[in-house]
Structure formats: C-alpha cells, structure tokens
Amino acid sequence: METILWRILAWWLLRSLPPAAAAPVIGDLLEEHAAKRARSGSVRAMLWLAGESLSVAIAYRPQRRATARPRRSAMDMLRSDLLNVVRIISIRPTATVATAVVIGLGIGLVSAMFALADPFLFRPLPYLRPGELVNIRISVNPGVKPGIIPTLADWQARRDLFTDVAAYTVNQPTRLTVPNGSIALQTASVSSSFFPTLGLTLTVPSEWDHVTGVSDTPLVVTSAAPPKIRDDEQGFDRALPRQEGGTMWIAGRVPSSFVFPGTGNVTAIGGLIPLANQPLVEVQEFAGRVTSSRTLSVLARLRPGITPPTVAAALSSQAADGSGILVAAESLALQMTQRLRSFAFGALAAGALILIVCAANVGNLLVARVVFRTREFATRQALGASAWDVSRLIFIEVGLLAIAGVVLGLTLTAWTLATCDVLLPREFAALGEPSLTNRVIGFACLAGGAVMTAGLLPAWVAWRATPVALFTQMARADTKSVRALRFSLATIQSAVAVILLVGATLLGRSYVNLLQQDPGFTSNSFVVSVSYPSNVVGAPLQAHIDNTMQQFHRLPGVRVAAASIGSMIDDLRVGGLVRFNGTPAVVARKAITLSYFDAVGSRLIAGRSFTERDGPSTACIVNESFARNYNAGVSPVGRAVAVGERLVEIVGVVRDTYDIALDERPTPMMFVRLQNPSVSVPITYVLSGMTETLPSATIERTVAAVHSEAIVVDGSTVRERLMRSVRDRSFATLMLGLFSLAAIGVSVAGLMGIVMYTVARRTREIAIRVAIGAGTPAIRYLVVRDALVAAASGAVLGLTASVWLSRALDSLLYGIRPADPLSIAIAATTVIGIVGVAAWLPARHAVRLSPTAALWID
C-alpha cells in the first residue's frame, strides 16, 4: 500500500516538477519519510508524505502553466506523429515488416479457420427460427413387429409437442422429357407441411397430400435442378413426361437460397414432389421376425419449452414382448453440422493457439523494439516531450502495424479459402461455402485488435522503465522482469508450435497410412456410372449392358470392360441378411459381369471365378472378410449361402477390396453374376488398361450410342474415387499441416528475434570477450543460450500437452494411436532442428564481430 502510494506520488511529482528539480525533491521526501515512519508509524508517515507532496506540486503548478507549450490541434498532432512514426519505421524497415508479416500470418490463418468454422458454428440455418427445428429418426426394435406404427397424421395431432410436423424421403432420380432432350432429376417426396415447417411461404396445390399414381404429379423446382427446367420461366403448367410413365408439372419454385434440410447428398435434390400418405415406418419380415425397415425422415418445429429428449420420450413405445419403435430427436442445426462440428471446434481451437503465438511474437518484437529505443524516448523527454507524447508514438506505430497486419491477413485468408476450395467437404455445399463475409472481416479486425492489445502490454512494461533512465542516464531499461517476460513469451510460442506440429505429424502419418493402404483395386481403372430409364429392366437392360461394354472395349486403350451393380467407392450400400452355417449373416452384395475381377484388378485367392454356366441364384463368390467373420477364416468354397429360400453355392473367395471408402475397412461381401437385372439401378462400368483419362464427351457418346436415354451420372478413375472418399481427411490434414507450418514459422521468427536481440544488447560484452581471447563456441553459446533454453522449455511443455490434446484427433486417425511415440519424436526432432538453425543463423553475427568496430560503435 505504502509502495503504491509512493509510486503514485513520485509519478505525480515527476509530471509536476521541472526535470532538474524533481529528483532531489523526491530524495528529500524519501529521506524524511523514513525518519518520520520510524518516529510516528507508517500511517502518519504516509499522510505526511501525501501532504508534503501535495504542497510541492501545488507550489510548482503556476510555473508549469506559465511554461506550458501552446496547445496544438488534434489533427496537427496526428499529422506530426504520423510523420515521426513513418520516419522511425523507414530507419529500421526490416523489423517493422517482420512484425507486420507475423501479425498478417497469424490473423490470416485464424480468419481462414474462422471462415471455415463459420457455417458450422455461427451461421444460422436459412430457415425461419431454425432453433425450433428438430430432425426425428425412427428405428424399429429388432425381433417382433411393432403393434402400432404411427402415421404422420398421428404426430401432427400432437399439438402439445409440435407446431408443425413434416415427413420426407429422398427418391431415386426421375427421368423427365423436356423440350430439348431428357434430364435426370433427383427428387424428394415431401408432405405439404414441409414448406410451412421450414417457414417457406410457398403455396402448393391443395391436392398435394392426396396425389396418387404418377400422372399429373406437381413438382416444386429447387436451384439444384438441371438448368433446362430451373431456368425455364415459361415452364409452369407444362406437362413434363416421365420416362417411367406419367407426367409432372411445375407447381412452383423455392427461393434460390433454399437448402434441403438433411445430410448426405441432399444438395443434388432438384425437385420436391408429393409424399403419398403412408405410415412413417414400413417393416419387412422374414420368418416372423423384422429383417429390415424403411422409415421416413421427419422434420418438426417444437413448441416453446419442448426439448428433443422430451419428444423422444413421448413418442417412443416399447411393448412387453420387446416390440416397439424407438424415436430419437436432434436439433436440425446439430444434425446438419454434426459430422464436421468437432472439426470446426478443432479449427477454432487451432486458430486460437496461432493467435496466442502471434500475440506472443508481437509482444516479443515490441519489447525488443521499445528497449532499443530507450535512448530515443529519454532524449524526447529531455527535450520537453511528455509521457503522453511518447506513448502516442507507440500507439500510432502499433495501430499502423495492426492495419497492415489485418490487410495482409485478409489477403492470406482469401488465398487460403481459394486454395482449399477443391478439398471442401460436401457439407459446405448445403450450409454455404466459406467466404470473406462481413463476419469474417469483423473477426479479422477483432483478432488484429486482440493481438495488438497483447503486444501493447509488454511494450508498456518496457516503456515504463524510460523515466528512470532519464535520471540514471539510461541503460537500466533492460530489467530482469523484461527479460523474464520475453523468455516466457518465447517458451509459450515454442510450446504451441510443438502442439500443432505433433497434431500435423499424427494426421500426416495417418494420411500416409491411408495412401499406402492397398485398396485391392487397380487405381487407374476408369469407372462410369450410368442410369437407365426405369422401364428398362431384365433382358433388354442386360442387352444394353453387354452392348455398352462392347462399345467401351472398342475405345482406344481399353483392355477390359466390365459392369456391376453395387457400391464402387461411393455412398451406395447394397446388402442384406443371408444365412450361412445356420446363422444370419449381414453381407454387402454386388452383381458383376464375368470380366469384373479382371477389370478392377482383384485377385482370386481360393476356388474359381464365374463361368457362363453360373447364374445369380446358383453360384456366388465371397471375400476374405466373409470367410474370416463367418467361417473362422477357413475357405468356404463348396458351401452354400441361403438367400431367402434359395441356396447359392460359394465357388470362390477374392481378396478384400475397399468398396465403400479408402478409410472404411472391408466388410463381408457376396458377389453374384449380373444377369438380366430385374430392377433399374445405376450400372457401374469398369474399364482398365488405359493410360489416359477418357474425355467425358467420348463416354457420353459411347453410352448414348447404345441407349439414347441413358444418362452418365459419373465418370472418374478408381484413384479419383478413392481420394474423394477421404476428402474430409485430406482437408483436415492440409489444414492442420498449414497451421503447424505457420506456427513454426511464427515461432522461429520469435526465437531468431531473441538471439538477434541478445547479440545487439551484448555487443560490447561480446567484443571484450573476443578481445581477451574467447573462442567461437563460447561466444555462440553465449548468444544462443537464452533462445535454446526457451525453446527446450517450450518443447517439453508442448509435448506434455500434446499427449493429452492429441486424443481430440482420435476419430481422424487411421492406423495410428493418438499418443504415437514416433510422431511425437518426429515433431520434437523437427522443432529442435529448426530452432537450432534459427538460433545459429543470427549467432553468426556475434562470432564475426570485430572487437575494435564493436567497441567503437557502442
């Protein structure tokens, strides 16, 4: 208390008295105060001190007023300060540019992270009061069929829970004949309540909920529809023939900003059609037990005060025999952002870490800068500048740096967003792609303000020392506390860099594991997905498939052409329940032509391949996972799989292939021959032997030559599909990699700053040491010691934190554990190596110092 009071009084006296008079007066007061305290106690002494200081300050006040300089206008001051700052910057531009680059780097990457996280965490869904919307999922208990299956009308009657309830289901693409050809339209069937539930003011025909059959089906067009009907403003009321029979007519259009409320491939939904009145769950039974069920998706707007768990509890039912339905409700916003929500939080956390590193570095650089300028500040004060005059210069310089940093940062943000555009996960298409919105710009400005505020603190600590230097003829500004602060900042940034580098190394190694994973396919095979009209099934479809394969085979470079129905590294999952060894077995199914295994490069490891004599209901081939999961790893060739009532003989076993995604382990799979398919599903053609990618025009021409209404849905190589399947991982790895590099860069700049500062501060000492015979290693050790100790302390802190923090990456890791010792060792070695170089480079200046020149300069 006494010290604080004394500091305030001393500051006041320094401001009030002429510089030459202040020190002796303060000395007199201190001396008498000590005697007074010994005589009368500290309270009386404090009161005495305050009174005496007041007396002196008041006595000098008229004199101070008389000698005060005339007041300048604010604009004059600003202009003069700006000129001063520009002159100072131009004297040492390197330090200023380095500071601006560090700030820009930090702000740019943090703003980019914010822009990427924005759609998931901050941007509201484009619906009316989106917080009230929930998605409801229904599942049926396995076993006995539930006694009561609810309908949409039942739930709409629950006015105690909902204000609106809607149901929808996503359909297979519909083929429509339009004036200039035909189009494939991805549709979703929705109840009429779908539109008011989302707050859309669209008026749909009154018969919407009562449409039966496929004639005169009203269609609401969305912005994802093919241009031929999306941009056809004259298209209202015109009947559009469906190739599978019946017609559609455009009943309305939703605004272009409409986003379908769901996850997965909903962004392709170009049309909304009526949902037939049906139960919310359709159950399929096999031998008296529920084998599979098909449920509608339900969307509801909750009444105030109702929560998703309340809805789930109110709508779930469980009978005594175990039958029943289970209802799970989840906020729509959470559901739509669920998959990448943890990524978004991770990105923001990484961004915050970068911001800390950046703030630490700016602080570091400013401390060094202010300490170097002690002499200048003292001179300014000696010439009559007040403390406010000097501090204004620092504020303006810091402000200019912040503006430059924000501009540089936003440029970097724009570049980063453009670079990662091709790697963006599909959710961005629904929720909006990241861009330089006002929110992002505002965030960048806030980040700039935060960094500069953090930078001002150490600057103030260092600057506080200058009035003392005024009386002691400088040199005491570089106090122990300032050095300790700089050391702490360097330690923090080194720790943060290590944490990010460990994360990036883990993801990088995980990604390498994925890429080294043998998918079981020849990666340069070309895959073409083709959709045929729904009425083309059976023998005619088989004829088209055979003809198309022949046409493909004639293309230059194509060695083998094959066809299949089933997943080919896409989201399509075809499968069901079979029986093997008397027990139910869940298998993925794929129908293939004879040349399929040859075309994809899959290897048979037991039995034989299909022959012309095999039919889809007589022979099948299974994969290794099937044998491992259901036959204890022993080859099941010769045994039979029960598919419904039929027994299908296993004639061969093939190696596992990654049919769903590169990061999804193969599951038990059963191959049958593709022969006269009875349902219309997309056919996947696989072409191998080419050295170059086929042009899309060639593919479309080849497919259309066989069937004019066939539509090419996708054409890409196996490698492209594999990479697409791990797009999220690629994205996360790239992001964390970029971040760790940036953090290391920023951190290295900080450590180099420490060494450079040490060299400058101790130039005289180094020169004397060299003059009396100190060797190169001793000098080098002298200047790099602080930086190395700071870096090593940071590395230890960072590695300890990494062991705990890396658990957050668990879901993104593949073939590696979160606390992988090798990754941590790689990160530690990299940091130590880089820090060594960062410290060694500026230390060369100290080693090369000429004692004569150095002492002359100082």
Binding site: P18, A21, A23, P24, V25, I26, G27, D28, L30, E31, E32, A34, E52, S55, V56, A57, I58, A59, Y60, Q63, F471, T472
Partner: protein
Amino acid sequence: MRLNAPLGEFEVVVLLAVLHLGEEAFGSAIRDEIQRRSRRRVSRGAVYITLDRLEEKGLLTSRLAGASDSRGGRPKRYFSATATGLKGVKYSVQMLARMQEGLEPLLGT
C-alpha cells in the same frame, strides 16, 4: 552582477538560512533552519520554488551530490550563495536597519 529587483521577505529569509547552513544547505535542511529560527511553519513547496527562483536570479548556485539508498538513489541539491546573493542580502538587511532607525522606543528593540 547587479540586482535587477529588490528581494522579497521570504527570499531574504531563505538566503539567510542558506548562509547559516553553509556547506549543508539542501532543501529539507533549509526548511528546518527557517522553521527553527523563525518559529513558524513553512510550506515545503514555497521553500523549493523560492530556491529555484533565487538560483534563476543568480543569487544562489546548486550542485547535486550525496545520493544514498535512504533517498532511493536520488542526489541532494546543495545550495550556496553567490557574491550577488550575499550583496542582495546585505542590501536588504541594511535597508531594514535604516528603516528601523528612530523607531526603537516604539518597536522595543
């Protein structure tokens, strides 16, 4: 040096205190000396600002010395009268004496 203006009463008192203290004339000591001899309380601010003014007029000179830990490393500012200062004091004291002549019975001196 010729004195431009007559000295004020307090200026004379301060100059006399400096002369009394000799080599030990610094801020606090001067104030104590005045209080002791004049038997009245004197403001510290008034003493310092008067010392500054007398130095500005050339009647006093000062030097910095005697910094110690008890003073927080700050030096003492020792004052001494210049020849002009001494002349000024003499002039003021003699003027007072002349003004006093003939008033002894009334003033009781």
